[in-house]
């Protein structure tokens, strides 16, 4: 039981919040559950093709290819490839995590995977076009260029903050899936 609570921290926090909301105003609880339902539905709508793509990638792209292009010795080329993968994507950031996980499993270097995740979260091309339309070109570019530079630098220096053994331990976990 204790282990379950520790493992499902978010679920526990959510349930406590729901109970508090019910005491204050039960209509809030209904709205929260309705929102949850809507979110789950919209996720279930987008998840099947993503997981099919992950599966196809898994069987068709040999590990050697990923190691060669995005692995330990990939340098700038690996970063560029990560950028392209992140920028020419579509879908919510939550979906990027399983993809990143699979890249790791296939032997991509973590700094590349991290850069991919960062680009996906804020610099997806379809979103940038929308962002320009809403905020104007200058404002959008200030945001995007600042972030791009910061993301590139911070992904390159991740080894200063997280040790190799720590990274290896979750790469191993990824390989079990």
């Amino acid at each position: 039981m204790k282990r379950m609570i520790k493992k499902q921290k978010f679920l526990m926090i959510s349930i406590i919040m729901l109970i508090v909301m019910t005491i204050i105003d039960i209509s809030m609880t209904y709205r929260a559950l309705e929102n949850t339902y809507d979110q789950i539905i919209s996720m279930l709508l987008i998840v099947p093709p993503i997981f099919i793509l992950i599966g196809l990638f898994d069987v068709w792209v040999p590990k050697e290819t990923i190691v060669e292009h995005m692995g330990e010795n990939s340098k700038t080329k690996g970063m560029i490839l990560s950028f392209i993968l992140g920028a020419f994507s579509a879908g919510p950031t939550l979906i990027a995590f399983p993809i990143a996980y699979m890249m790791l499993r296939k032997g991509a270097k973590y700094s590349n995977v991290l850069f991919f995740l960062m680009v996906w979260s804020s610099l997806k091309l379809p979103i940038i076009l929308f962002q320009i339309a809403e905020l104007g070109f200058r404002f959008a570019m200030i945001i995007d260029i600042t972030l791009l530079v910061l993301f590139y630098i911070s992904a390159s220096i991740i080894h200063l903050f997280v040790s190799k053994t720590e990274i290896e331990s979750f790469v191993l976990k990824a390989q079990e899936l």
Binding site: S14, M17, T36, G55, L94, P126
Partner: protein, 161 residues
């Protein structure tokens, strides 16, 4: 159906057909892998959605525009960054909200900080990331994005929009 969804479905269907033509056995294996990933990740994802549902109820766009429209100065920046960090929102809602906020008179750098944290900092991402990878890298990525938001604010203050 958003454009996102349409693109991903077309791509998946197209590649699935190509794969089927090339090798039936491999395609079957790919689908089994897809199913396994799904089964493994759902228990991680589903509880997060309950949390998202609650957040969306407590922090609505209406609440955001009321809070951020009124606050300015240092406190306004902090409110913007914090609201952006805890809220979860699709970019198709977030950016129009950002431009509405500016039209209503909210300060541009505050909105900039809010939008950046909204897109890339989040408890929900943190939970997912620390489960799949580990806590340290999850903290690192979220922290970098948070610093990114502060940098964007500074650049906006410096060069103007």
């Amino acid at each position: 159906m958003t454009i996102d969804t349409i693109i991903i479905y077309s791509l998946a269907i197209l590649l699935l057909i190509v794969s089927l033509i090339k090798d039936k056995q491999k395609t079957k294996k790919a689908l089994i892998k897809a199913k396994n990933t799904f089964v493994k990740l759902m228990p991680v994802l589903l509880p997060l959605f309950l949390f998202i549902g609650i957040i969306l109820t407590l922090i609505t766009p209406d609440f955001i525009s009321r809070t951020m429209g009124e606050e300015s100065g240092l406190f306004g920046y902090i409110i913007g960054l914090l609201l952006g960090s805890v809220t979860f929102m699709s970019p198709f809602v977030a950016y129009p909200l950002g431009s509405d906020l500016i039209e209503q008179g909210a300060s541009v750098p505050i909105v900039a900080g809010f939008l950046v944290t909204l897109m890339s900092v989040g408890l929900v991402y943190f939970a997912m990331e620390s489960k799949l990878f580990n806590k340290k890298v999850a903290i690192y990525r979220n922290l970098v994005s948070f610093i990114g938001a502060i940098l964007v604010i500074l650049v906006v203050l410096l060069v103007g929009v």
